[in-house]
Symmetry: C2
Subunit: 280 residues, 2 copies
């Protein structure tokens, strides 16, 4: 069994040093509590609601920044892996909404969000590479960021590449939902986890920023699609103990198999087509 | 607004004439109550738990069978469309787990289930054609059958082909679920509806057959992924009034669009690969 912890922090817009330090302290506490995989929110270093690209640029870090290295040092105290969102200043000079994967050895991977949501398109460049699948001692960790998860192609592709657990830094603004329902993004995670027989750990944020509130919907979902741990508290933590080997069991019955039962010859061409141009 | 009704019938194994007649009477009642789209369970004519292919063959019908034509006649009383599962004897002599789409003019389309579940593989041949998208006066109806819906590629492909509502005849055997949760298949429908901004009407069955019970989980899901109507009663009916135009609104914000935001260049090749051979 391994322990997964989603740290539902409340980043302060533009306070990069403070955000990194508060995250570092939270990582230390989670690792001390036995966490093997620690997930932070999207843009945990910077906050989210930038007015313009110039403001985002002032809050951007390179993946090798010594500030982020403090997270790796905390991971190294416990043989843990940290997956956290940050505002990236790329080596190409562009801004990205990214996630870094770190362990005691330093940066293992950087993922640049593929599907930018709404005004993010005005601030960031979209990623042009597939998300990473990082080999950790206890399993293979795939990475997505927030809106990425709403494209079922993404968790499917990561499952086909062998990911056991998807770590998903998110910032989910509050949207209405019927009484008794999970947040819609959690429903998407539940369905994706079950369809692909993978674990999914979504780390949402808390706090209020320029009037915006977030769902505080962090959730760890198992391979049957059920929520093992959730947290709706400010600065709370969703923690679950998981057997990642369950994600290697894609066979559903003697004759059914979650991945081998696909019939790509009947739909893959449709999924390959260029997206339709949206009507105005 | 149009009215969608899922008729959660309880087919009796092998009683084809009786099953068709009970479904006909239920269609009549639903159409009299104003239903425009009537969905029946999977294998509504035959029941599900065949011991072997010979037993299934004895319960099979051609799509043009006069028994099924009685459904079309009932649809014609109200300008309705009926989508119902039946055990098909194909013109090629093979057995299929199929759905027929009928209106007052007769058979509009026949769909042969693409993804066969478990022992269905011993009884039926898998379909080799894409599911239909049928133009009705009030919108475009796509068709899937049960396990098909658990492959996110299927609703995605139907949405890309312009379907507004997916009619999904199902037989969902009872599986455990945590208190307060929807059946897992409904969670899959909720996520698929929201990801693709389509309506989904799943018609489950009721009754008991050779000791097996079904979920009785019929549900009509809207384009935001919420359950508009559900029914857990024996021989009950889930009815919802829907504005199918909502399914034409794929734009989520001024800058975001459910289909145009896809990035197929980053995953379509993975989704096209032949399925992995399952390990024994």
């Amino acid at each position: 069994m391994i322990r997964v912890a989603c740290l539902q922090l409340a980043p302060v817009l533009g306070d990069v040093a403070g955000n990194v330090e508060r995250a570092r302290a939270a990582i230390r506490a989670a690792v001390a509590d036995g966490a093997h995989i620690v997930v932070l929110p999207e843009l945990a270093t910077s906050g989210y609601l930038f007015t313009d690209a110039a403001e985002a640029r002032r809050a951007a870090l390179a993946p090798e920044d010594p500030l982020l290295a403090t997270w790796a040092a905390e991971a190294g105290r416990g043989d843990a892996v940290v997956v956290g969102g940050f505002c990236e200043l790329g080596d190409d000079g562009l801004l990205y909404n990214s996630a870094v994967v770190m362990d005691g050895s330093g940066v293992r991977a950087v993922y640049r969000k593929t599907h930018l949501w709404d005004r993010e398109k005005l601030l960031f460049s979209p990623g042009t590479a597939r998300p990473p699948v990082v080999d950790a001692p206890y399993g293979r960790i795939g990475v997505l960021i927030c809106y990425d998860l709403e494209f079922p192609e993404m968790p499917r592709a990561l499952a086909l590449r062998g990911a056991d657990l998807l770590a998903v830094p998110t910032n989910w603004p509050v949207v209405p939902r019927p009484d008794g329902e999970h947040p819609p993004e959690v429903v998407a995670a539940m369905a994706a986890a079950r369809a692909n027989r993978v674990f999914i750990a979504c780390c949402d944020r808390s706090g209020t920023e320029r009037g915006e509130r977030w769902t505080r919907g962090s959730a760890v979902v198992d391979t049957c699609g059920w929520v093992r741990a959730a947290c709706d508290e400010e600065n709370g933590r969703a923690t679950a103990d998981l057997d990642l080997n369950e994600a290697r069991a894609k066979r559903l019955t003697a004759l059914s198999h979650a991945l081998a039962d696909r019939r790509p010859e009947l739909y893959a061409d449709l999924l390959s087509d260029a997206p339709p141009q949206p009507s105005p």
